[in-house]
Amino acid sequence: MKPLILIVTLAHHHHHLLVGMVMTAQGYEYMLKDYLSQVWDFVYTSIRYSRSQEQALSLLFMLSYCSPGRGYLMEALTPAQRQLVFEFSQVGIIYLEAVTATHFYPTKVAVNMLFGAMDLLQGGAAIPSSSNNSLSLSIRNDDDDEDYSSDLALKVIVETNNQVVAYLSSDIHLAMLQLFVDIHIRMPNMVIGKITKEKAREAFRLGIAAYQIIDFLMLHAHPILKSRVPIVPENITDQFAIWEAENQRIEANDAVVVDFRDVDDFAQSAYRSLVDNLQHARVLLWEGGEGQRMVAVTTEGFKMVQSAVDQLRGYG
């Protein structure tokens, strides 16, 4: 049994050395953003690093006037634009049947990047494209505006007693909720959990802010709650704010307190200059002020204090 466990552990170790990618605090912030903002971040980053700014921007502007579902010629693009279209196709913003495809198909997301409405997923394109659709391949007649993404959507109900009921089908949504909700019942399309202080503090430690959690809950609120004001109960919003404030009010640091009150041969001027030096080196955590010659310093700061005192005594 033992060797087997060892092998498994090593395999995981090896895998992580190869992958070595971890999410940052900005990553959590990114995950909590709405769909269009996430897509926009990707597009904007691609444009910024594109080899031709003007061609990248031209592509972006033209995409805004395309018709979703219509095929456009790859031949019409410049090489830099083709590269961008390929990048967009990798994340589903544009559909490309194959790398060598002759046509590309902008999706609703691509068309709505600049002008799109927030409720993109609930409806059609926000910008009417030009009426004369002379170009491109024809598409099947399916003008019905069915909401195909609704099945994939996360629908959250937050109750005043901290209970959270979420209808979901995606593991990613579950993972996001688990950042700040203690899930205790899981069913095929629904989870029930509770917002707890421990979970909230874990989220804050990861760099997630209270407002981001509230925004996420509001963004993904169940349709029956969308008309309510407020969508997320006020006591829950306040609770998150209070927990976050608690987190920010107290900062724990390892410290050493040095008391100079009984050290007679340590002149006030020498004390002040030491405090200034500690402050300058950013190792001073607290200082007693006038008349109370005490400092709290970090462990590195304590070494500075020791050497300063030794120096003074040496000269003395």
Binding site: Q53, G92, L121, L137
Partner: protein, 279 residues
């Protein structure tokens, strides 16, 4: 989100050098920033004429690929691209800026900021200053090299400046400075408004490729429904990649990996054995 995207695109455009902005407004065609030739050429193209005297600056693009890019094709593409660039920027601007642009769209001569603002009451001046500065930032209004007849009467300038707000802003905001609308922008927006065309439409009507593809394959492209589903599920996989739920082999290229690192969403790290193990 759209506000954010427009804002960041505006900021991005503003940070670009004049030459890049001119390329955007001209569809990356034409080296002569002085409008006349370019304008004439564009109108000729639009009217089906064959004027190709304008130099094409997409040589760079052509050089980077092995393809030979047809000059006329580039001109057509540039003409269409520039229309959409200018139209999109125009549509994204606040209402007041749109009004100002429409007033200046057919003005051929230069004008001073005093000309632009002289008819305003002091109450609305602040708002106009913001808008004009935005237009200058986007190089829609560009400084005119020769001030010509506008460098007269300092007295009036002083009076207007005082009338404006009485502050020292008049130094930074020189009302006598001559401006003109960026000729590329002006030209492209005019065409966009007068002769709107479908994106990349030239390549459909003039090129045989679209017909060939349709005829050859005999199949139809994906429906809107397919596209919606594909884009939603693909983006789900992207998010899965970030939270380590999607297998890496679904992203054979390193495009996503590069993005998450550039956007600081993920960072590369060496995880030690204990931490790395999920067992």
């Amino acid at each position: 989100m759209t506000q954010q995207s427009r804002k960041s695109i505006f900021e991005h455009i503003k940070s670009q050098p004049q030459v890049v902005i001119d390329k955007i407004y001209s569809g990356a065609i034409g080296t002569n920033p002085n409008a006349a030739a370019s304008r004439e050429s564009s109108y000729n193209i639009l009217g089906g004429g064959d004027s190709k005297e304008n130099t094409v600056t997409w040589a760079a693009a052509a050089q980077t690929s092995d393809e030979v890019i047809d000059t006329e094709k580039i001109q057509r593409l540039a003409l269409i691209q520039s229309q959409y660039a200018c139209k999109a920027i125009f549509q994204s601007l606040p209402l007041l800026a749109k009004c100002l642009i429409m007033k200046l769209l057919f003005v051929q001569c230069s004008f001073t900021l005093r000309d632009l603002t002289s008819w305003l009451s002091s109450d609305s001046m602040d708002l106009h200053v913001v808008i004009i500065e935005e237009l200058i930032g986007l190089r829609i209004l560009v400084p005119h090299a020769v001030t010509e007849s506008k460098e007269d009467d300092m007295e009036t300038h002083y009076a207007v400046s005082q009338n404006y707000d009485g502050s020292s802003d008049s130094d930074a905001w020189d009302l006598t400075k001559a401006y003109a609308m960026n000729s590329y922008f002006q030209n492209s927006l005019r065409i966009a408004l007068v002769h709107p065309v479908e994106p990349w439409s030239y390549f459909d009507s003039a090129s045989s490729v679209a017909a060939t593809v349709e005829g050859k394959k005999g199949t139809r492209g994906p429906t809107r429904r397919d596209l919606d589903r594909l884009s939603a599920s693909r983006w789900n996989e992207v998010l899965g990649y970030i939270v380590n739920l999607t297998p890496m082999h679904l992203f054979p290229t390193n495009i996503l990996k590069v993005f998450v690192q550039r956007a600081k969403i993920m960072k590369q790290t060496i995880v030690d054995g204990k931490e790395g193990s999920m067992t």
